[in-house]
Symmetry: C2
Subunit: 398 residues, 2 copies
Amino acid sequence: MTGNMLVAQGGGPSMVINQSLVGAVLAAKASTKIIEIFGALHGIQGILDEAFIDLRAEPEEVLLRVAQTPSSALGSVRRKPTPDDCRAIFSILAKRNIRYFFYIGGNDSAETTNIIADEAERKGYDLRCFHIPKTIDNDLLCNDHTPGYGSAARFVACAIRGDDLDNRALGGVKIDVIMGRNAGFLTAASALARQDPDDGPHLIYVPERPFSVERFIADVAECMNKFKRCVVAVSEGIRGEDGRAIAESFSHEIDAHGNVQLTSGALGENLAAIVRERLHIKRVRADTFGFIQRCFVGITSEVDSNEARLVGSVAVQAAVGGKYKSGTVTMTRLPGASYQIDYSIAPLSAVAKHTRELPSCYINSEGNHVTGLFLDYVRPIVGTLPITARFNQLRGRS
Amino acid sequence: MTGNMLVAQGGGPSMVINQSLVGAVLAAKASTKIIEIFGALHGIQGILDEAFIDLRAEPEEVLLRVAQTPSSALGSVRRKPTPDDCRAIFSILAKRNIRYFFYIGGNDSAETTNIIADEAERKGYDLRCFHIPKTIDNDLLCNDHTPGYGSAARFVACAIRGDDLDNRALGGVKIDVIMGRNAGFLTAASALARQDPDDGPHLIYVPERPFSVERFIADVAECMNKFKRCVVAVSEGIRGEDGRAIAESFSHEIDAHGNVQLTSGALGENLAAIVRERLHIKRVRADTFGFIQRCFVGITSEVDSNEARLVGSVAVQAAVGGKYKSGTVTMTRLPGASYQIDYSIAPLSAVAKHTRELPSCYINSEGNHVTGLFLDYVRPIVGTLPITARFNQLRGRS
């Protein structure tokens, strides 16, 4: 089938989401089945507003520079299409003879893609409809990992490595709050910062294990006893025994998908205040890494960039190949000593709606750190960190 | 004079303070006048505790790796020596035959060095006593800029560049709180993020201009009107008309030099709440960059690294040269088209105690951004930022 193509980006930006966009555009340019290549601005909203740009008109060198640029170059949106939206979308698709649709994003974007694919089916409108995976949370089902995660994880690992060195210099307790509403993958990646056994992060708390303040205080006290300092990586999404996010009580922002905004600094500040008060430690500091985890310029993971580019082109190749009418690109790690990823196509429903959590085998039995298995999992995705070193005479001394 | 050397690090760490340390050690190894090279752990505290390591014993490749490592490899401290401390220090200096003393840090560390130099003079103890400049705040007097600033400024510029791209994708108002208690140099460096006229940061607030909430709200409203989004860089040290830091009311931590801890997330959250309420803008976010501004691994400014190395060796060369008994290394930018720095020695009293502010010529007349003169000043210190780009069709469109 020959026709025009539309591509859009949804959800939170990542450092490599434009690699996927450019991967899709370059693959489309290489196909004889795709005529026009439209980019919709701000996801679904841009389709509804018919706010399109002509991606064929962008020079190759601009495409390649945009690919290296963090955040969503077409703009993003957090909006799920209503039945009314769907009607409007199809009138625009038909008018523009769009036969290939690609939506780059997380599970919310996969759900949107699925709604459009279902509607096309129902209407008998011939449309190839594909989701291209992206999420720094790394919480898509059916994927070993997701483009965007490796670079955000690299930011977190570099930040914690530096912060641990900072904490060595001045001592006390440092609490760092890391993104990840429901999945602890990004927080867990902080463990890559550790080189020597006494390096931080000394404690890691993820949403997959109920967070107990009593247990946390005991953990910090034990660490202070052992190392005379303590660096803690904690997910913004940690929950109490009742399953409620501990940060929720400090924040009131809710996005269009019904998710509460957890990025405020209140969680870290409150945990710091508890440590200060309960353990009588003078120097207790908290930082919340915030949005720069997903958009910082200049520390992208090379593997992540390459994979993000590939998933974009794989989606387009699947769409023009004709074997699938719709689907999402999934990444599977092949067994064996060397790191290798297989790209294939799964039904949209397989990744829409539900998300996955950090597997139990990646969390230590105390629920306050990761396992060696997790480090083996995450290392190739993040790549080698910049070299840092300590004086020989200070290693093993706390 | 032949004798042993002692070097220590004070104050807040930076990304390149170990370059200065290693610069000093390498210069000392090259001099026949210096026998032992001791490193005191945690500044003045380590001298009092006689907690020394032997820096001659560290292999060259370890020194070079430590040089590239952020934070203070010897550990740091925030402590001013009392008269009792001074007595204790001199008994240790004499016992170890230390004749060369170097203290790397900001103006508090320069003051400490000055106290020790004065005491040596009074006691008739023959000591070469030098301060090696370091501060991410860039607030030392008699210096064009200070090692540590360029790399922290690079972090800020990269973070704001990414954050501005992120804000383009999802819209609304983003407020980023940047370090700098009294001087706006670091916050001002966020301006390097801007490439196109509609790029952020759209507003920059520094402690050198009284901060008015009314004026801030009007500025944000005007920016939203113009660009439909707004990225604000604000110094943690902004003050009201009464001269009191606005963040102070949200924080209770005070360090040994009597400085209030301003890094809590409260300032950003409170400004965000005001914008949300007053301007009825739905998406308003705040981040506080926190400690990673000064210790992040992997984005050091090359110029800053090189200069930091140099000030360390210049201090040692001045000390062994015999022309000066004490002093601090100052950096002067030579006039002319190409960037060039002259290193010389000034009296310790010239940089101790007092600090400098961002000059008026670097702040625009509205007090909400920087001038082109500032950009000319800061660019060579920070270096070229990583390439980022937008689609041609979206440039100039907001």
